[in-house]
Symmetry: C2
Subunit: 223 residues, 2 copies
DNA sequence: CGTTGTGAAATAATTCACAGCA
DNA sequence: TGCTGTGAATTATTTCACAACG
């Protein structure tokens, strides 16, 4: 009796890659590929094959030795593990350039994300429509969250407003926040917070570019 | 004779946090804080103090025992290490919702990033102005890169176009790419590639949210 | 004193290498 | 034969804990 266990302790690094595998598998399925090897999936996801096999081993054994993985079956299984059997409703706080861009993003649907509402504090923006969503007042935030069964929130406000928005979200019962504002938010331990900082990403690239031009020949050291 | 060494082997994890420290230090400086402890900086950056001290130790010793770090001096030093003594010119490829939002983003200046140009393949967008930048044809990409001394590029195109854009960027001599398109790009080893995938971030949050609601009481296990 | 800077210990993630199986 | 699944080895990162020092 094999138990289809919902595997308890999946390493964080693995969890962070599962969405990449899912995306890669969906692409492969679209192209009509029914079966793929760990090598194949690794290329499609942009990682190496050893890590693919190790990661998938945390979910249980779903491959066939000498053959590979059933693309659709594996995609379905990963979707189940990440809780993506039905779309996650998400509220976007902030209808500025970035918030609007996210609200208009067509790619969410295929990735199990559904924009439930867009809210903003600016009265001039309330009532306008971005990406097919009418912008509501931020005062309706708790209503939106409770009635919409929303459990994920995106903060796309200026940094100065981000902390109070986070506080309001937490007060309304949100436990998962994706923050685009370049500021370190203070939230309770029980709240899961992830950060996207575009400028920081560019600075990291800048560090390496800087080093490349400073020390052109370091191959010897790297052996 | 203390050598102001440009420290050779800074761990990747540390490099990824330097921009956060820089941001936090700039905020502290604005508020008139002259000196801060590792604890203080840790809170402002959203990490813990042990990691701050360990990270900073990789850059050399710039603190004063019993006192802390000079905010401005440390900020300047980190800026030097990440090569941010003068702004990095960046080209944004793709003037859709996201590309426009990035082009209009006001926060880049303070973080050492300067938008040098915005290009797009769509003739209808060429000539329009987004965030103060006239959108140029993607055919001018290599000119833009060579004349603007651009070394960083942001890909904000639909996934289907991303690989050919990446190829063009690499051909034009770009060695640092920040990719927003949800697809695994194939680039030479010498090219530094970072990925931002919003849907993937949400799926990671979804995984944890999913587990939380599936297993409400796991405190005992975590001891 | 109070806080840094850092070895040493603990933990986490990746890579290797190959037995085991379809 | 070819590819998975996985222990073992390696490497990276975080955390601890405290001596050193302004």
């Amino acid at each position: 009796m094999t138990i289809l266990r919902s595997p308890a302790g999946i390493p964080d690094a693995t969890v962070a890659r599962l969405p990449l595998y899912l995306r890669a598998l969906d692409e492969l399925a679209e192209r009509g590929t029914d079966v793929c090897s760990s090598e194949h999936l690794a290329t499609a996801a942009g990682v190496n094959s050893a890590i693919v096999r190790k990661d998938l081993s945390h979910l249980g054994s779903y491959g066939t030795r000498g053959v590979g993985y059933d693309v659709r079956f594996l995609a379905g299984h990963i979707a189940t593990v990440v809780g993506q059997t039905q779309p996650w409703p998400v509220v976007i706080v902030g209808a500025g350039h970035l918030g609007s861009a996210l609200a208009a993003y067509q790619g969410f649907g295929a990735r199990g994300v559904k924009v439930a509402a867009v809210v903003d504090a600016d009265p001039d923006l309330v009532g306008t429509v971005v990406g097919g969503h009418e912008v509501r007042s931020i005062d309706t935030l708790s209503d939106v969250i409770e009635h919409g069964e929303v459990s994920l929130a995106i903060i796309a406000t200026p940094p100065a407003a981000a902390q109070s928005v986070a506080d309001a979200l937490v007060a309304a019962g949100i436990t998962s926040i994706l923050n685009f504002a370049p500021t370190a938010l203070q939230v309770p331990d029980a709240v899961d917070l992830r950060q996207v900082d575009v400028a920081a990403e560019l600075q990291i690239l800048g560090y390496h570019a800087h080093r490349r031009q400073a020390e052109p020949a370091e191959e010897a050291v790297l052996s």
